[in-house]
């Protein structure tokens, strides 16, 4: 498999064309906007986190390249139902992988299908695309839930 087809795997293209968990939920406890001014990618991320710090629901809206869209889509699948702690660990691992500091084939990890993004590390200008949704997640979960609770 060429490096490039590794980047543009069918899974990524599929998520890009049919993003999962797309849209604005009726209720949310946390919210964050992400923006990549270099290419105009943007994302609105909505979380519903319960009292036990479990991510009960997670949805997103936005536009951008296939990498950013697929990354957001697969992130929502992967984080739904996880505890805040687990989710942040996966965030760390994902970040490690696309910065080239974690090789999912060798090192233990909880990335699962997200390993499909390991090819991104070869494309410095695309790293930001892949990480955008994750930064939005990090921003949302660490923000004060009440602040965005007006969003219903």
């Amino acid at each position: 498999m060429s490096k490039l087809s590794q980047l543009y795997q069918q899974l990524i293209i599929d998520h890009c064309k049919k993003p999962r968990n797309f849209g604005k939920p009726e209720h949310c406890t946390h919210h964050c906007e992400g923006h990549n001014p270099l290419c105009g990618d943007n994302i609105s991320l909505y979380l519903e986190v319960d009292e036990e710090d479990i991510v009960q629901n997670i949805k997103f809206e936005g536009s951008g390249c296939s990498i950013s869209q697929a990354s957001a889509s697969m992130m929502t699948q992967s984080l739904k139902g996880k505890s805040k702690e687990e989710a942040l660990q996966i965030f760390e691992e994902f970040q490690g992988m696309i910065m080239g500091n974690l090789d999912p084939e060798i090192e233990e990890n909880k990335l699962g299908k997200l390993a499909v993004f390991s090819g991104v590390k070869e494309y410095p200008s695309r790293v930001k695309c892949a990480i955008l949704a994750w930064h939005a997640f990090n921003g949302a979960i660490n923000s004060d839930g009440k602040e965005v609770s007006t969003e219903e």
Binding site: L7, K17, C39, D41, N42, C65, S66, Q69, R126
Partner: protein, 415 residues
């Protein structure tokens, strides 16, 4: 075809050999297909060698030394200024000010013309087609002086609306700043009409020529523009150098931009008197090697012939446009009647960033994906970004064929 198109008589293969980088391969694999000439141009051997020679044989500071190297460097530097004056047909070389780039040239005018002429409630006119470099400096100057920024609207083809322009012309307007050619769409703007109309109100006009100087013959006297700005790196010259042409009558009334060595006549702690043009606007040690390199680039272009360049690049544009129009999923953004050799487009269902990456990785093709520092243009056309292919006279039909093949491949991947 019965009627014969104008011919350019250029030997493109020979020309390509003059550009060392065109002989390289992308990641040691694919030959480079460089189609991002609107961002920056590649350098002919003559330019690279002139820099090398300057540092190896001539390097001295300019204007002050009484010794050999300094006298040589000063002579080459001032000769470069004259070459550039001739290239755009400026009446005097003292009207050529060296800056670090087109952006600085425009900032200089926004600040110094602003300080001399712009007051509360005055107005500045730009167009809806501008690069950020011809928007933000005016926003800053207007904010400082409580003046207003007015924007000439454009139509769906990406053409400036001259009627709208005329409706904006009042005595409150102190300066008009428009691009000669849009870097986002390629539109060649009717600057001669704009200048004439503005002059009827005695309003001076600055032309952002960053995208024009590499592609067509510029005659600032024929245009009768009051300022003309461009960058070295976009006209086959070095980075770190730009040019501002300005009419003496305005330059003399403007305060200096930066303070320092060479821009003054006498300095005491109480008072400083400024040097005559162009030194008044060139504080500090200038970009000497870069100015010399830029002059070499201009000589090189003149040897090839700007008329021929224009003909050939137009042919490349037409060829690429025709091929692209055959692809149903492709939409060209910007269809001005008068267009430079640049095509901005979007592909249905594929983001420009993905196009850029795949063209680069699979085909070694360099195109630009993004907002091209022209976010208002993107907003107007309701796209977050476009893919832009911009051609130079060293590009070939074969390279355009590669681009088209690349686009078709991408459509396959994303089908």
């Amino acid at each position: 075809m019965l009627t014969q198109a104008k011919t350019h008589n250029l030997n493109i293969q020979l020309i390509r050999e003059e550009f060392p980088i065109l002989q390289t391969k992308v990641r040691d694999k694919t030959p480079l297909v460089y189609l991002d000439n609107a961002a920056t141009t590649q350098k002919p051997r003559a330019v690279i060698e002139s820099i090398n020679r300057f540092y190896s044989e001539q390097n001295g500071t300019v204007r002050r030394g009484v010794y050999f190297l300094s006298e040589q460097a000063t002579a080459s530097f001032e000769e470069a200024r004259q070459t550039i004056a001739n290239f755009i047909n400026a009446p005097k070389s003292s009207e050529i000010i060296f800056t670090k780039g087109c952006t600085e040239s425009i900032n200089l005018v926004a600040q110094c013309f602003g300080a001399a002429f712009l007051q509360e409630n005055d107005e500045v006119i730009i167009s809806a087609l501008e690069h950020h470099a011809n928007i933000v400096p005016w926003q800053m100057a207007c904010a400082q002086r409580k003046a207003k920024l007015k924007v000439i609207s454009i139509n769906q083809n990406g053409e400036i609306d001259l009627e709208n322009f005329e409706s904006l012309l009042t005595e409150r307007v102190k300066i008009v700043a428009v691009s000669h050619i849009s870097n986002a769409l390629g539109s060649i703007n009717p600057i001669k009409e704009i200048i004439q109309k503005a002059h009827k109100f005695n309003i001076p006009v600055l032309i952002d020529g960053a995208q024009a100087v590499p592609h067509c013959k510029i005659d600032v006297q024929d245009l009768d523009c009051d300022f003309y700005a461009f960058s070295g790196h976009k006209v086959y010259g070095p980075t770190g150098i730009g040019v501002l042409y300005g009419k003496t009558k305005y330059l003399e009334k403007m305060p200096p931009y930066q303070g320092g060595g060479d821009m003054i006549e006498t300095v005491t702690f109480e008072k400083t008197t400024y040097a005559p043009l162009p030194a008044k606007f060139e504080a500090g040690t200038p970009a000497i090697a870069e100015a010399i390199g830029l002059a070499v680039a201009m000589n090189y272009l003149q040897t090839i012939g700007l008329d021929k360049i224009e003909i050939y690049e137009k042919q490349l544009l037409n060829y690429a446009t025709d091929k692209m129009q055959e692809i149903p999923e492709l939409k060209i953004i910007g269809n001005a009647c008068q267009k430079a050799s640049l095509i901005s487009f979007v592909l249905e269902g594929v983001h420009p960033h993905d196009i850029g990456t795949i063209l680069d990785q699979e085909f070694g093709i360099a195109v630009r994906a993004g907002h091209h520092c022209a976010q208002p243009v993107m907003k107007f056309f309701k796209v977050p970004a476009t893919t832009r292919a911009s051609f130079s006279f060293y590009n070939t039909y074969t390279e355009i064929d590669s681009l088209i093949a690349g686009i078709k491949h991408i459509l396959e991947v994303f089908k």
